[in-house]
Subunit: 298 residues, 2 copies
């Protein structure tokens, strides 16, 4: 298998189709990269692209898209509901296969360096690429937004990680980093007792002492007259789909409630599914390279 | 996802590296095809190639490899332990993803037609592509081998499915068909009682009234002092990995024996693993297209 990394950059433009087309074209025009998705929000005036490929190709696509955004977006005129620091607001890299987090961090650092050198965007590193704990969380790094950071960027607290302490005159600053792929996974329970779903969510989520890297909420699904424990697994290497499933099932069973089914929302890394088969079948020595389809690359 | 088909042709040459290199080069030189594996046996004087790709590309690769084999292999001089009917002895096509068995059968028929038209190889269709039940099993079709078929090919019983009833003067005849991917799956039991493994194998295999499309045998694994139920799932759409696993586990539990683990030997279609995750997690509405890696093709 080949090293694969995903990049999900957020740009501060969600209204002008010609700008979005130009940014998407920069990604599509990079050999070895596949644009998987593009979503824009008019109210947020913001768009999110998702693309994937080998690290060097993904780096080139990210830089090409960023160059277009710097050229075509003017933060002096930008308005939108969503907080933002610049035209190339956030650029996270997610290791997908055959790639360690350390390599994704290294990639994000290299991209950050070039954003400054080529485009004169000062760069902050966040999440796994953060240089200090205060810069790990995105909302903390983005505090004060574009307008505030223009004033305080020379403050030692807001010194960028790459580049000089001055905002790009029209594109502001960029936040670059690496994070694990997120798996959105819901478990449906055969009851209409919302308080049970909420109690199980509290029991299994990290915040309240549950499973590591799990966020969870309890919801009603009114049209089916059932409830759901809705989870985000922010690092499936720490807590996998099968572990989340088993934890919810165990808690439901204590309350005498049956699991009806589960659902994976959106995309899921192959690895996370193989982990499940692995766990339930007690597989010995299984390698993803044994999956026929993975043999088509590399 | 793209339509993908695997081709596993068997050629009657396992000794001369220059011939094998030429056949492999014909496959490698076909755009859109990936050669996954090549194995030769000197005693059998026979080689098996495995390659994969979209149907049209796989067809071209199979025909290019067959042309090389017809050019370089002389059945008049061929000796080997393994039964064979010709230089291009057997050419099975296996639907891997987004492809029905009917489509694989159609592909095998098209290849058979061209083997006659381009190379003057008379062709027999077998397995899912067989035109009559007597020609379904490979050993039945190959009866008499190259030497015998030269004498009896004009007998109505041995009339080829494509082409005239005369063997190619140096390459004999070819057997072409379509079959399901085979999954080799073993379940290890926490006991040294070989007779239990054998009894469970009998219980679960199709031949003795067990699960459809399952072949099974019981073995000892001496170095671990345990026994194993070793299975071939010849159509995982009929009996999947999880069903085979659950059946063996249930039988073992009746005898008070625990399942230690299981193993997938060699390659496995992604679909077969997704089926397992699906089953154990009771997934609702999951589609293989949700797997990140599958989004890279098509």
């Amino acid at each position: 298998m080949t090293k694969l990394v995903e990049c999900i950059p957020n740009f501060s433009e969600g209204r002008r189709p010609e700008v979005l087309d130009a940014i998407a074209a920069a990604v599509r025009g990079t050999a070895g990269v596949t644009l998987l998705d593009m979503e824009s929000d008019r109210d947020h005036n913001r768009s999110v692209l998702t693309f994937i490929g080998e690290p060097e190709a993904v780096k080139q696509a990210a830089l090409a898209a960023a160059a277009k955004a710097v050229e075509l977006i003017d933060m002096e005129k930008h308005q939108g509901e969503h907080p933002r620091l610049g035209a190339v607001d956030v650029v996270p890299f997610v290791p997908v296969s055959e790639m360690t987090m350390a390599e994704a961090v290294e990639l994000s650092r290299a991209v950050g360096k070039e954003l400054w050198e080529r485009l004169r965007l000062p760069v902050y590193f966040y999440e796994e690429a953060a240089a200090s704990p205060e810069r790990k969380n995105l909302p903390d790094v983005r505090k004060g937004e574009y307008e505030g950071r223009k004033r305080d960027i020379s403050d030692p607290k807001w010194m960028p990680d790459v580049g000089e302490p001055r905002m790009h005159p029209t594109a502001g600053a960029a936040i670059v980093g690496a994070r694990f792929p997120l798996v959105a996974f819901n478990v449906n329970l055969d009851t209409d007792r919302l308080e049970l779903a909420k109690a199980i969510a509290r029991k299994v989520r990290e915040k309240d002492g549950g499973l590591p890297a799990v966020r969870a909420l309890g919801f009603e699904i009114k049209e089916r007259n059932i409830v759901q424990v809705s989870m985000n697994l922010v690092n499936y290497h720490k807590t996998g789909i099968h572990q989340a499933f088993e934890a919810v099932r165990a808690e439901a069973e204590k309350a005498g409630v049956r699991v009806l089914g589960s659902e994976v929302v959106g995309l899921v890394p192959l690895d996370a599914l193989v982990q499940c088969a692995d766990f339930f079948l007690k597989l010995e020595n299984f390698k993803p390279a044994q999956i026929l389809e993975t043999r088509l690359r590399g």
